[in-house]
């Protein structure tokens, strides 16, 4: 059957709309982005906002003690180079994960790298109290500052890989991050609201965990939820996914130390 020119034009328009929709559905518009803070109850919000109630502040204090503690074979502390108060770390957490010496590093990874090279000390284990405390202390220096991840020629490969992980179906449930946290954000999973998944407050004090946890712990949480093989702590895959998520949340203010239910 021969299609008339008018019909063809209509088809083009339809195609254009379909393509446009698939592009726009892919990402949450900047103005509609929302921190999970806004989904919390007033009590939990108060817990995060009130420095006297926020349990994460204990980790900030522990982190500050560790910051000033001399360690390693070189017997120097973080403070020996970066200053006692930690103020010089202001804005640092908004730039991680970051390419340093050709390798993508998370904030935790960079702390361990610094320990190895500057202090000649052993690496701290992921999710150990010490690493969480130091990370929380450093990241909290950037509280209120906008996440500053940009796509650069250096990180574009990792960023694209992270984006692919975000959109790739995984696990026995065969779900991608995007299917919940992008396409169905704001709808319900069981009784709870699906958040948009912006990592604006890490490390967080999660009430369910009754302790602090890193973004990687949270990501592994979801991966086990969809019955997928979890990315390893400190792996390149994790760093790439972290990078994409931080890029996706670029411009949103950092809330560290956050409280989440």
């Amino acid at each position: 059957m021969k299609t008339s020119p008018l019909c063809k034009q209509w088809l083009y328009v339809l195609f254009a709309i379909m393509i446009a929709q698939s592009v726009f559905a892919a990402e949450i518009a900047k103005v509609n982005r929302q921190s999970s803070y806004q989904l919390m109850t007033a009590e939990n919000q108060a817990m995060q906002d009130d420095p006297n109630l926020n349990p994460a502040l204990f980790w900030v204090m522990d982190g500050h003690s560790l910051w000033k503690e001399k360690t390693g074979n070189k017997n120097v502390s973080c403070a020996s180079c970066h200053g006692d108060s930690g103020k010089k770390m202001s804005g640092v957490a908004t730039q991680f994960p970051k390419i340093l010496r050709g390798k993508l590093r998370t904030l935790e990874g960079q702390i361990n790298q610094c320990r190895a090279s500057q202090q000649d000390a052993s690496a701290l284990a992921y999710e150990s109290k010490e690493l969480l405390a130091l990370t929380t202390f450093v990241a909290s220096q950037s509280k209120g500052m906008p996440i500053a991840i940009q796509e650069t020629p250096l990180n574009t490969k990792d960023l694209q890989q992270g984006k692919q992980f975000f959109n790739e179906r995984m696990g026995q449930l065969n779900l991608s991050c995007a299917q919940c946290h992008q396409d169905r954000a704001g709808l319900k999973l069981g009784g709870s609201l699906i958040p948009q998944g912006h990592p604006t407050a890490y490390p967080i004090y999660r009430i369910e965990w009754q302790t602090m946890g890193s973004l990687q712990r949270r990501l592994r949480n979801c991966m086990s939820g969809v019955r997928a093989k979890q990315f390893e702590y400190g792996s390149t895959e994790m760093a790439q996914l972290e990078l994409y998520l931080m890029w996706r949340a670029r411009g949103m203010p950092l809330e560290t130390p956050g409280v989440r239910p």
Binding site: N52, P55, F58, M61, Q210, T211
Partner: protein, 109 residues
């Protein structure tokens, strides 16, 4: 749990006589229930705060027994009446010799 636990008390520094004041006390503590096992099947011994007391000018105004069901880093919020200037002292005691004391001053006008 490290024995260098941190605690905090939040109470108004100034209050009117006979007014109701709110006291908040938080302690950093893992509150290990004693019901958990390690990967190789060993029971993790219970390590919890057992007792919380608050004394206002050396008179007990609040007391709470804690059990395994209380979550980590317990926060307690309660009210009392501002009767006189002095100190509010909170004490947490628990398993394995755990003890933490913290106090704040209050001025009554």
């Amino acid at each position: 749990m490290s024995k260098t636990s941190r605690t905090g008390i939040i109470a108004p520094a100034n209050a009117k006589k006979d007014s109701i004041i709110e006291i908040r006390a938080i302690a950093q503590h893992d509150m290990e229930t004693g019901f958990r096992y390690t990967e190789d099947g060993k029971r993790i011994p219970r390590d919890i705060i057992r007792l919380f007391t608050c004394r206002y000018n050396n008179e007990e105004v609040f007391r709470a027994d804690f059990y395994s069901g209380i979550g980590a880093n317990p926060l307690i919020i309660f009210n009392t009446i501002a009767v006189a200037s002095g100190t509010i002292e909170c004490r947490w005691t628990g398993d394995d010799g755990y003890e933490a004391v913290n106090q704040v001053n209050i001025t009554i006008s």
